[in-house]
Structure formats: C-alpha cells, structure tokens
Amino acid sequence: MNPRERLAGLKRVFGKEDVRSLARRYFVANGFDGTLTSIGVVLGAYMGGNIDSGLAIIGIGLGAAIGLGTSGIWSVWEIERAETSRELLQLEAAMLTDLDDTQLTRDFRNEQIVLALAAATGPVIGIVVTLLPFLFEGMFLSLFQAVLLSIALGVLLLAGVGAYMGTISKQRWYVAAVRMGLAGLVVAVITVFLPG
C-alpha cells in the first residue's frame, strides 16, 4: 500500500463516528494519565530537593512521556489487533469466505493505527504542555515559579479537556471542567503532603 492510499484509508476510517468516539476515549483517558503523572513527577522532583535546573525536570518528564506514549501505542495496538481479529473470524464464519486483503481488513488495520496514535499522543501532549515552563526557567521564571506554572498549565489542560467532554455530552461544560481540573490539584496536594 503506497502512502497516498494509506492516507486515504486513514481519512476514511477517521470519518467513522465509532472510530472517532473510541479515539477520543483513548486520547482523553491516556492524556489524563499523562498530565497527572507529569504534575506528580514535576512536584516530586522539585520537592526531592536535589534538582536545581529546569532542564533536569524536563529530562525526567520526557522519560515519563516516552514511557506512557509507548505504553499507549503498544497496548492499544495489541488490544485492537486482538479485537479486530476476533471480529474478522466471526465475519468469515458468517460469510463462509476469506476476507483477507479486502477493504474491511485494510480498514481494520487503519483503525488500529488511528487508535494507537490517539492513545500515544494524549499523554505526550499532556506531559509536554506541563513541561513547557521549565524551558524558561532561569530566563523569566525561577524554578519555583516554573513548578507553579507547570501545575497551573496541567490543571488548565485537564479543565479544557473536561469542558470539551462536557460540551459534546451536552452537560454543563464548566462543571465538567472543574471535575477534571480538580484531579490535577488533588495529585499536587497529595504529592506535597507525601512523607519525606
């Protein structure tokens, strides 16, 4: 399959509402994981006392991004592969025919790609956004200010996603935003009060 056909296939499956809905779930669930992890990592690293530069925190955070991104892409790829294989076997049994190399199997593969990418980009975006203030540590911000800004960005990101989810589910967006954003504050408070 050439790149143009692959792109057309990805565009076609992304047009399906069920694929978009599943991609949204993976993106939000893993993005939530990533953002909360990043808040915990940033605060934990800062309060550990041995970190004196923003770049060191960026290094730790990027390690978490690689871990969660890889986890998202790998686990969802395998989950979707198993699910689509099962579905394909059921269909082949119902149709009494081999469906290899048909539009259906190509769509299944493209769905796997879309969903795995959604699962990986969620946490990476969540972590990268919360790490951005540390790029300016030493220029415009002190390390403490960068930590505070990082937590604020994480909470805002969670609230933004909450508002979006509230809008698409026709609920009060600000309630959904507060509920999601609150999780970031809870992680921050727990990390601050951790023993040691």
């Binding site: 269909l91 119902a94 149709m95 539009q103 259906l104």
Partner: protein, 94 residues
C-alpha cells in the same frame, strides 16, 4: 462476445462498509452507468443485498473483483441482460 448491459446480483456483505459507500464505490468504474442496492435481509454480522448494475459493456471480472474487495460475496447472479438492448422479463411486464 455480447456486451453485458445489466446484471442483478445477490450479495452477502458485512455491515461495513455501509450500503451507501458500497454502492458508490461500485458505481465508480467508467463502464458502469448506474448501480442500485436494495437491502434484503439483516443478520447479526452480515447483510444480504440485491445489487442491480447497468452499463454499456460491464466487465464481469472487474465487477466481481471489486465486490470481493469491498468484502462482499456473490451468492448468485439472479439476472443478466446482454446484447444491443435490455429485454425486460416478459413475466414482469404488464
């Protein structure tokens, strides 16, 4: 060889692709002038549809390949019209 002008096929297909994109894609080749798909039966995993294809000179091999690529399986060829013009089934004409 006489030109094939119309075929009516009984096809079994999964729910995906849906009947609209399925019919649209069948109508894309240049030798096809029009396609009509009619839902006959829905089961848990599959649907049976009756597809009527009309054209000036339908290439059956290409049509069958295209249906298979769309994950469809031809159960039977229910009607074929060949020649200079389409002769309607006299049993169906009032």
């Amino acid at each position: 060889m006489a030109r094939i002008r119309r075929v009516i096929l009984d096809i079994l297909k999964p729910h995906e692709p849906k009947i609209v994109p399925f019919t649209e894609q069948l109508s894309e080749p240049e030798d096809i002038q029009g396609v009509t798909s009619k839902l006959v039966d829905i089961e848990e995993n599959v649907r049976r549809i009756r597809v009527t294809v009309e054209g000036e000179d339908i290439d059956m091999d290409t049509l069958e390949e295209q249906i298979m690529d769309l994950s469809g399986s031809i159960h039977s060829i229910d009607e074929v019209s060949c020649g200079e013009r389409i002769v309607e089934d006299p049993w169906l004409v009032d």
